[in-house]
């Protein structure tokens, strides 16, 4: 006999459904960070990393298309018969995007690890290891 099938919704949807059309009396409880200052520092560090990645992404995308527009020679030079600009656009750009994303993940995880280690230090415990292991 199979158990009754239940409908799955996210916590926010459950709250919204339970509330019906009445206005919000309370939200999903937002747990107070133990150390607001540390959380702020982490937030700002993560924001700097995110801005850096987005800027680099813009440089790759706009820079490459700009190069195609300004340097027609990229369409004339050929590598194994294929114009270099075609190679860059259809093959070469994907490893760049992948590398950029990988680099961002490493930077973001390092910041999180450092924040956790500092929190553990303050609590008098040894630093925690990265639970997922190295990437």
């Amino acid at each position: 006999m199979s158990p009754r099938r239940e409908k799955l919704t996210s916590p926010q949807t459950r709250i919204a459904l339970a509330r019906g059309n009445r206005p919000a009396h309370h939200l999903l409880p937002v747990p107070e960070p133990v150390d607001t200052e540390a959380a702020r520092r982490l937030f700002h560090a993560q924001r700097r990393t995110a801005v850096r990645t987005v800027l680099l992404l813009a440089v790759v995308l706009f820079g490459l298309s700009g190069a195609f527009a300004l340097l027609p020679v990229l369409g004339q030079v050929r590598l194994a018969q294929v114009p270099v600009s075609w190679l860059l656009l259809t093959v070469g750009i994907y490893p760049m995007l992948f590398g950029l994303a990988l680099w961002h993940v490493r930077a973001a995880e390092r910041l999180e690890n450092e924040a956790e280690a500092r929190a553990a230090d303050r609590a008098g415990e040894p630093g925690t290891d990265d639970p997922e292991g190295p990437l």
Partner: protein, 551 residues
């Protein structure tokens, strides 16, 4: 073409089997939750890529490349780069917010039921704009392989998707979607590699040298299904339907609907008015150039696609199946690798299509190039089998993406806009499918990618600013978010809609309306920040933001 119908049937049957088997494996809520935590990041990345690669990628890219030139591949780059933006800006924090959808996130961050309804409306617009081209793609493929009229294909596609959702074909979504990624990759890659190897050195060289000119590869009958204007570079003698020889002088020509000409082998291909000459410099320069401002068009499209990706409701939803925010980010990196691998192949169809099936441009049927090409290039049963593979892959693309879209649409209808229940969800699926089919019927002549980029533009001008500012800026307020959503949604939907429905004079106005992302996205961001500056965020806003970033 029965092979193709058979292959499509096989993909459908296997999806249903995996779906039903997966449902048996996970029955209760806890099963589902535990299973979703146990799904390995690799499976999850496969599933996300499987749902994301739509008809726009499988059919649309190759077709648009054939028609407009190499610049088309910027769409593929944008589709992939979107995940870099997702990794950097939303994947981790979205997972920590506990929100499944953007309306959920709006509720978490700004705590207002009305904003939830507004977001629900935006979800509907984006999902419909995205669904219509999927149905169009399915209709085109089905009518091509079975010979039925286009509207029968669209109607059938609508029935198949609603039916497969009703039968539970998408319930164990992760495995079905992962299966579809493999189907799409294999069924596009294998024929592509086979075609490249068997095309012969001459065809390969011709494909890589567009400056040699584009000629009919053999005596080709062309039946104009719509009235067309085209121009010829040199005079050519064609044979009309009555069997008479007709000399077409160099220059402009217009033909009425239903005209049939047989072009001799080796004749230069005519190019329809408003399109770049096949293989000309404008065609082979890798920039998007439809309205005459290539750099602006390329950048605007890149902005729309890269930033729109994070605002797509069915993309955001999938990150919740990762157990932690860290794994959500890593999954997104895996998706980038899978997309990059897939996007190596549409180029092959577009480049070979210019040499082997250039007549599709005149027939306004370039979206079918990936399906038509194998049978043209490789005669006999091998070609039939390859065509069947591509058709089945395209159908898999359509099936997985439109099921995900339709479920997101139905979820939005029943949860965010009305108080939902399971029967209502079913009704919403049926209503959503009906509306999408009705909208897809008159859309036969609109390129798949034009419609898909429209959906991305709306997402980039509405949900992207909401998510980015909501996650990274403490001072975003409810009035700011709401006004930004309305301004971005109305301008982006209106501008592209205007450019599709009405003729506009050549020049900047046309380009700004057809590619509005470059001004609608900054406008939406500006509205949100300026209005937020004039209003006060609630006291708990900072905690809501900080919580998104605490490990």
């Amino acid at each position: 073409m029965t092979t193709a119908v058979l292959a499509i049937g096989l993909v459908l049957a296997t999806s249903l089997f995996i779906g039903v088997y997966g449902v048996r494996a996970a029955r209760s809520t806890s099963d589902f939750l535990v299973a979703s935590r146990r799904v390995s990041p690799n499976w999850n990345a496969l599933a996300i890529a499987g749902e994301y690669l739509s008809a726009a990628s499988v059919l649309g890219l190759a077709g648009l490349l054939l028609k407009n030139g190499l610049g088309t591949m910027w769409y593929a780059v944008g589709f992939t780069a979107g995940y870099v933006a997702v990794v950097a800006l939303v994947a981790g924090p979205m997972r920590r917010s506990g929100a499944f959808t953007v309306p959920d996130f709006a509720e978490y961050r700004l705590g207002a039921p009305r904003l939830r309804k507004l977001c629900g409306c935006v979800v509907l617009v984006i999902m419909l704009l995205y669904l219509v081209p999927q149905f169009k793609g399915a209709g085109v493929v089905l009518s091509l392989v079975s010979g039925t009229p286009y509207w029968v294909g669209v109607l059938l596609a609508g029935l198949v998707v609603s039916g497969s959702i009703a039968a539970g074909g998408m319930r164990s979504a992760t495995y079905v979607q992962a299966f579809h990624y493999v189907v799409k990759l294999a069924f596009l890659a294998v024929p592509a590699i086979y075609l490249v190897v068997h095309a012969g050195a001459e065809t390969r060289a011709e494909a890589l040298h567009p400056e040699w000119g584009t000629h009919f590869p053999e005596t080709t009958p062309v039946e104009f299904t719509v009235a067309t204007h085209f121009s010829l570079d040199e005079a050519v003698t064609v044979v009309t339907a009555e069997g008479e020889e007709l000399e077409l002088a160099a220059g402009e020509h217009s033909v009425g609907q239903g005209t049939e000409y047989v072009f001799p082998e080796g004749a230069t291909i005519p190019h329809p008015a408003g399109l770049p000459e096949l293989g000309s410099e404008r065609w082979s320069t890798p920039l998007l150039d439809v309205g005459g401002y290539p750099l602006f068009e390329t950048w605007s499209t890149l902005l729309a696609i890269t930033l729109g990706c994070m605002g797509l409701p069915h993309v955001i939803m999938r990150f919740h199946t990762s157990p932690t925010a860290r794994i959500a980010r890593r999954v997104a990196v895996g998706v980038i690798a899978l997309l990059g691998l897939f996007y190596l192949f549409p180029t092959v169809y577009g480049l070979l299509g210019r040499v082997l099936t250039p007549q599709l441009v005149m027939l306004q049927g370039t979206d079918t190039v990936a399906v038509v090409l194998p049978a043209q290039a490789v005669p006999g049963s091998a070609g039939t089998i390859l065509t069947a593979l591509v058709a089945a892959g395209a159908f898999g693309a359509f099936l997985s993406t439109s099921s995900g879209l339709l479920l997101a649409l139905a979820g939005g209808l029943s949860h965010d806009l009305f108080q939902g229940s399971v029967p209502r969800l079913r009704l919403a699926v049926a209503v959503g499918a009906c509306v999408a089919v009705l909208l897809a019927l008159p859309a036969k002549m609109i390129d798949i990618n034009v419609l898909v980029v429209w959906a991305f533009t709306v997402a980039a001008s509405t949900f992207c600013p909401l998510l980015v500012l909501g996650i990274w800026w403490r001072r975003l307020t409810l009035p700011g978010a709401a006004s930004g959503l309305i301004v971005g949604g109305v301008t982006a939907t209106g501008a592209v809609g205007w450019s599709i429905l009405f003729d506009t004079p050549e020049g900047w106005l046309t380009v700004l309306l057809a590619q509005p992302a470059a001004w609608t996205i900054p406008l939406a961001f500006l509205t949100m920040t300026v209005v937020s500056r004039f209003t006060r965020p609630p006291e708990w806003a900072e905690h809501a933001v900080l919580r998104l970033h605490s490990p």
